[in-house]
């Protein structure tokens, strides 16, 4: 099952730029939460702070408290340990090009030293089924490279890869922005089914998408969290004028 996320006074910098300013937020477990806002508003930086990917860039820095379940990820553990608990799906599909489909899905376990082949087979099948990709690739799991399938399939492969490590949280950074409408619909269906099992945080620039998949929505603007509430409330009766301007298209 998923874990909830509590963020307190999170600040992040990218070089000299202060990209996140005092973010406070509680993301509930086993639900989908969408983060919207114009580009450059800090929403991507925010999710990258949740699994400490932000700091992989040498000039980037983050401060504050982020609790996932009962772990303070900036205090209690090494980045590698945090990232094993959290799956991440990136903007562009990024399967490992030299690995087969099977190895791509199994990579999070195999490369961390997991050897039990029977369990691996099982996990790969379940993850691919969860990602709604199993039927399309089951015949050439070990024959085809992860990079040889279509873009939409690649992104679902990346989701399967993230699910295979049985994460508590699934972070998705604009997972459908590089995909065609049909593939986008499939990804959204997926999020819909997965959110009962995992805590999903999805960054999107597409407001309809946020409305379709998420129970909660947060609106970011120039590095601050302007409003965070039930999706329905944000889209029908936002309490902040800036949110209203953004979702009605008067702005940005």
């Amino acid at each position: 099952m998923g874990a909830d996320i509590r963020v307190e006074n999170l600040n992040a910098w990218y070089g000299q730029t202060h990209t996140l300013k005092d973010i406070n937020l509680h993301i509930p477990a086993n639900h989908a939460t969408a983060l919207i806002g114009p580009s450059g508003c800090g929403k991507s930086t925010f999710v990258r702070c949740l699994n400490r990917m932000h700091e992989t860039n040498p000039i980037a820095r983050a401060e504050g408290t982020v609790r996932i379940g009962d772990i303070d990820i900036y205090k209690d553990a090494a980045p590698v340990e945090i990232r094993r608990r959290i799956g991440m799906v990136f903007q562009r599909p990024n399967p490992f090009p030299t690995m087969s489909i099977y190895d791509n899905v199994a990579s999070g376990l195999k490369l961390n030293g997991f050897r039990n082949k029977r369990v691996l087979d099982e996990v790969v099948e379940r993850s691919l089924k969860s990602a709604a990709l199993w039927d399309e690739v089951k015949d050439d799991l070990k024959k085809k490279s992860g990079a040889s399938i279509s873009g939409g399939q690649q992104q679902r492969l990346c989701i399967a890869r993230a699910l295979a490590v049985d994460p508590e949280v699934l972070l998705m950074d604009e997972p459908a922005s590089a995909l065609d409408p049909v593939s986008t619909a499939k990804i959204e269906d997926l999020i819909f089914q997965l959110k009962s099992q995992y805590t999903i945080v999805i960054v999107t620039h597409n407001m309809q998408q946020a409305a379709r998949v998420a129970e909660h929505t947060g609106f970011f603007l120039t590095g601050t969290l302007v409003e965070f509430d039930k999706t329905h409330k944000i889209f029908t009766n936002p309490s902040d004028k800036r949110t209203e301007d953004y979702i009605t298209g008067r702005f940005g």
Partner: protein
């Protein structure tokens, strides 16, 4: 009241509860042994540190090898440096029996043979680069580029073997007499012509450094942006004018770099030169006369050298060669880099 109506939200896709809609697919929860396995794994900090340490050691070893080579050459040539000082490089004595050593004939041989080789190779290499880039039909480009690169893969000793049995007779019986007949008055082609000597060494060197100059000058010319060429063509330039105005002018620094890189290769080239230059420490005006180079005197005499001073003098020659090639290569790389800006222009 706020009525943000720009987004039409059908009620069905505003889920308040997670199991609201969507086709029902059985999502099986992966076995939790996975979660417990991953959480039991350490952060790998130790392995990470050890791995990075190993990589640093590998990298540092390059630095130390260069340092080691330099220091061993300096240490072992101290005796010669003390005995002869700077005069070592201006004296033309080379008499192991008496113990009097000077490097001038070798410097002369190296410089003359290399410069001559560069003079022979550069015009050809540039013409071939222009041909391959601008004139050659597409289907022929690959094979010719491949063949010129094959030239670079042939070992030096095989060039030498070929030169001994093919080039030397040609130089002796065909090219030599012709040069003597028409250019004999210059004095560069006087004296007996055995086929073995400075000129033959320069020719074989030219063949060997041709691929270096050709492939790198091609890289540099390729780096000239297409719009530069189009600008020239749009002004009504012929193909040659376009090449001269935009390609050669823009790539000239890099071309100079490629030439210097070729020169660096020629300076240090050993085997082929040793096999055909005649190995005689004389400074002669005639290009037919046998000569010798810094590299070939080492190849010929180092393993038989007796006496500390003799060995030390040879090592000082090696040190001089080392330093000169470093300087030449550094200049060349800077020039090539200035044009291609990191686009791969590796030396062959």
């Amino acid at each position: 009241m706020n009525e943000p109506g720009s987004i039409q939200l059908p009620q069905t896709i505003l889920p308040e509860r997670s199991e609201a809609t969507g086709p029902v697919v059985e999502v099986i929860k992966p076995p939790s042994i996975i979660r417990s396995f991953l959480q039991s794994k350490s952060s790998g900090k130790f392995a990470d540190g050890a791995f990075q340490g190993m990589m640093v050691v590998c990298a540092m070893s390059i630095f130390f090898i260069v340092l080691l080579i330099l220091s061993v050459l300096v240490l072992n040539s101290k005796l010669s440096m003390h005995t002869f000082g700077w005069k070592f490089f201006t004296s033309s004595a080379w008499d192991p029996n008496v113990g009097d050593f000077g490097a001038l004939p070798f410097i002369w041989g190296t410089v003359v043979s290399s410069l001559l080789a560069v003079c022979l190779a550069v015009p050809l290499a540039l013409c071939v680069s222009i041909f391959l880039l601008e004139i050659c039909p597409q289907w022929l480009r690959g094979p010719i580029a491949f063949l010129t690169e094959m030239l670079a893969a042939i070992p030096s000793v095989i060039y030498g073997l070929w030169a001994i049995f093919v080039l030397v007779p040609i130089m002796r019986d065909n090219v030599g007499p012709l040069l003597q007949k028409y250019l004999g008055w210059t004095g560069f082609f006087g004296g007996p012509n055995f086929g073995v000597g400075m000129l033959t060494a320069a020719v074989i060197l030219a063949i060997m450094i041709f691929p270096v100059i050709s492939s790198i000058s091609r890289d540099v010319m390729k780096a000239v942006p297409i719009h530069q060429r189009e600008a020239a063509l749009a002004l009504g330039a012929t193909r040659w004018e376009m090449i001269r105005m935009s390609v050669l002018r823009n790539a000239r620094i890099g071309i100079v770099g490629s030439v210097i890189l070729g020169l660096g290769r020629a300076l240090g080239e050993t085997m082929a030169v040793t096999m055909v230059i005649g190995n005689h420490p004389d400074i002669s005006k005639s290009l037919f006369a046998p000569a010798t180079t810094l590299a070939s005197v080492i190849a010929n005499e180092f393993s038989e050298a007796t006496g500390d001073l003799y060995v030390s003098a040879l090592i000082e020659i090696g040190l001089a060669l080392f330093i000169v090639t470093i300087v030449v290569n550094a200049i060349a790389r800077l020039l090539v880099w200035a044009v291609t800006r990191g686009n791969s222009a590796r030396a062959v």
